[in-house]
């Protein structure tokens, strides 16, 4: 019953964190045996372990996100020699779209369970602080910013290893939410890799997350429909745009966010050294596309449509 044990430890930790003294830390191991029983009695309406039963469910969510300007369209230039993408001048970095969606997913859970604590965790250079602040203004509670020159240019696996180590330090938690992929490299690796490192389940490409009683119910987007999947927590869920629009911070929230804490961490604080890279970017370039375009002319739109049909017939395409 590994799961029951870790659940219990979380309940104990939660009690400590929320300043209630229902469970003491020494009790943790002891209670693990009776935790599920207490739950069962509660459900049966019995008068079981009162301390545990009265415990408000306090879940801690971790959201991870990178800094990515929305330079997904044509607003950038590729420096082939440096193998880097340079954003067009004046483009401000904003959180990657899938990650504000991740914050939105967490906030929807918090809307239902107000005692939820949302931690925003990110690994990146100084500029990431602003994106963390943006997420705090959206309604997240606290931020952790891992900023260490030793992991500059970290690949996905180094990123995942550092984030996983930081998450262990932030235990206990119920849910880790990541984007299904970031808008620049589009790999979709970090979330699942963190789950593997931590040895917890992962459900990818979510459009809805319900969090209840030690489990998540996730609606996944499939190519031809949807799938509802349940998993015990702690778990990792990666979110997709089908979840819906992330909320936009109001001025008051932006001002409140200024007071929220963003912890600056280095690798030393987490107690790991820079992980090795596993992948090498050999080249980055803009592929050539050469298409001769024929503009169909006509006096009226109707006529242009007719001419298009004729041209496609001549080309034997229809």
């Amino acid at each position: 019953m590994k799961t029951a044990h870790s659940c219990c430890c979380r309940a104990a930790f939660d009690a400590l964190r929320s300043g209630r003294n229902g469970v003491s830390s020494q009790d943790c191991g002891k209670i693990s045996g009776c935790y599920t029983t207490a739950r069962d009695e509660t459900r049966a309406g019995g008068a079981g372990n009162g301390d545990l039963r009265d415990q408000p469910h306090r879940s801690s969510l971790l959201i991870v996100f990178p800094d990515q300007g929305d330079r997904s369209c044509s607003q950038f230039r590729v420096d082939e020699a440096a193998k880097k993408v340079l954003p067009a001048p004046g483009i401000q970095p904003v959180p990657s779209q899938f990650d504000t969606i991740g914050v939105e997913a967490a906030l929807r859970i918090k809307d239902k369970q107000p005692d939820t604590v949302i931690t925003v965790l990110s690994l990146g250079p100084d500029s990431f602080r602003d994106t963390i602040k943006h997420c705090l203004a959206m309604g997240a509670d606290e931020g952790v910013h891992i900023n260490d020159p030793a992991v500059n240019g970290a690949d996905h696996w180094a990123t995942a290893e550092v984030l996983a180590a930081a998450i262990k330090k932030l235990e206990p938690f119920d849910l880790i939410i990541a984007g299904r992929q970031a808008v620049d490299w589009d790999m979709g690796i970090v979330g699942s890799t963190i789950a593997e490192i931590l040895g917890i389940p992962v459900v990818t490409i979510a459009k809805d997350i319900q969090h209840n009683d030690g489990r998540v119910t996730v609606e996944r987007v499939l190519l031809d429909g949807f799938e509802t999947v349940e998993a015990p927590t702690p778990a990792v869920v990666t979110v997709s745009n089908e979840l819906g629009e992330p909320r936009y911070p109001q001025l008051r929230q932006i001002m409140m966010a200024a007071k929220k804490e963003v912890k600056p961490w280095t690798l030393g604080d987490i107690g790991i050294s820079a992980p090795e890279k596993r992948i090498t970017l050999e080249a980055l370039f803009v592929p050539e596309t050469k298409v001769e375009t024929e503009f169909i002319e006509g006096d009226t739109p109707q006529e242009k449509g007719e001419k298009l049909a004729t041209r496609l017939r001549e080309a034997k395409l229809i």
Binding site: R71, S72, C73, S74, F76, V78, V85, D155, W157, D184, W185, D186, M187, G188, I189, S192, A195, E196, P201, V202, T217, L222, L223, G225, F226, E227, T228, V229, E230, A231, P232, S240, N241, E242, K277, R278, I279, T280, L281, E282, A283, L284, F285, P287, T289, V291, T293, F295, I296, T300, P301, Q302, K304, G305, E306, L308, A309, L312, L317, I318
Partner: protein, 326 residues
């Protein structure tokens, strides 16, 4: 020493070999060395010899009811076990629902890396060079993986399938799943298909797609009519799927479907790189857009500038006439 290619294959829901598998075998054969295929699923044994006909020298079959629906917790340990047994230099799978989920987890278990959604490959010595679109398809990146095995997922229809030769036979090795219900932490509660009527997007010879420029969900009616006359299927941009104008199952692009029709007609679609990622191998693109500078025109063979409504009605009417006259 690690050598050859292991393809993690899959079947379609109706029990056929997924069309991406012959493409993966084709890539593996071109890279050199033997190609081994692992088929995981329920009722997949029947397609093992088909993988052989496409050129696999050995096919592992893990056929078990527990593998009926893809779940990472049941598939990952089996893939890990076979990878260790085969010890390949390269592992390939499709950028399918399975591949997207399985590949990163397998890479972590094997202590290696994966390049996702690749479109081109080359072998230099024992180093795999994997090319993939990034920045939503506006740029290309070439990667090498520092360790072994080198894993990649492959975009559907990016590469030619291997040629089928039914006189070829593969050695078929059946193995038990070796995972039980207790190993699977996730549970599929429900699966809902969005029903697609008529021709499947992926199989259609003509695809007519609509974007935000249609102005509303009712704009899809004339497009459906147009697709009907052409014997094609209807696609959509993500903008309109997000707005709820058309089902997500019809989304074309990076996070939707990759389509390869002979003719693609984009109506009221701006041509964002993520949309174009879904039609990157289509030769004949027609764009109808009121903005003469719309970026979709850069990739279009035929361009029609103007309000879509009358253009489409004129077009559909004319096609009807042309078809009626043979």
């Amino acid at each position: 020493m690690a050598s050859g290619t292991l393809v993690i294959g899959e079947s379609t829901e109706d029990g056929k070999l997924n069309p991406v598998v012959p493409e993966l075998i084709g890539i593996g054969s071109r890279l050199g060395g033997p190609v081994t295929v692992a088929l995981l699923g329920s009722g997949v044994e029947g397609v093992a010899q088909e993988a052989g006909a496409f050129g696999a020298s050995k096919v592992f079959v893990i056929d078990d009811a527990i593998l009926k629906d893809y779940q990472g917790d049941s598939y990952v340990p089996i893939a890990e076990r076979i990878a260790k047994e085969v010890n390949p230099a390269v592992i390939l799978m499709g950028q399918t629902m399975m591949g997207r989920d399985l590949a990163p987890r397998l890479a972590q278990r094997l202590g290696t890396a994966v390049a996702m959604d690749c479109v081109n490959f080359e072998m230099q010595g024992d180093k795999l060079i994997a090319e993939r679109p990034c920045y939503g398809g506006s740029a290309r990146a070439r990667y090498t993986i520092n360790g072994m095995p080198q894993i990649a997922t492959v975009r559907a229809k990016a590469q030619e399938p291997a040629e089928r030769d039914d006189s070829r036979e593969a050695e078929v090795v059946k193995q038990p799943a070796g995972v039980g219900e207790g190993d699977v932490r996730t549970r599929i509660v429900e699966r809902r298909k969005e029903k697609a009527e008529g021709v499947r997007l992926e199989d259609a010879k003509v695809v007519v797609s609509g974007g935000r420029g249609l102005g509303g969900p009712e704009g899809f009616k004339p497009l459906e009519e147009m697709a009907d006359v052409l014997g094609g299927a209807v696609g959509a941009s993500r903008a309109v799927c997000d707005l709820g104008w058309y089902p997500v199952a019809n989304q074309v692009g990076l996070t939707g479907k990759v389509v390869t029709p002979d003719l693609y007609i984009a109506v009221g679609i701006s041509g964002a790189s993520q949309h174009m990622a879904g039609i990157s191998s289509v030769k004949n693109i027609v764009a109808i857009n009121k903005d003469p500078d719309a970026s979709i025109f850069k990739s279009s063979r035929w361009a029609v500038v103007g309000d879509w409504k009358e253009i489409v009605s004129g077009f559909t009417e004319k096609v009807r006439q042309l078809k009626a006259s043979g």
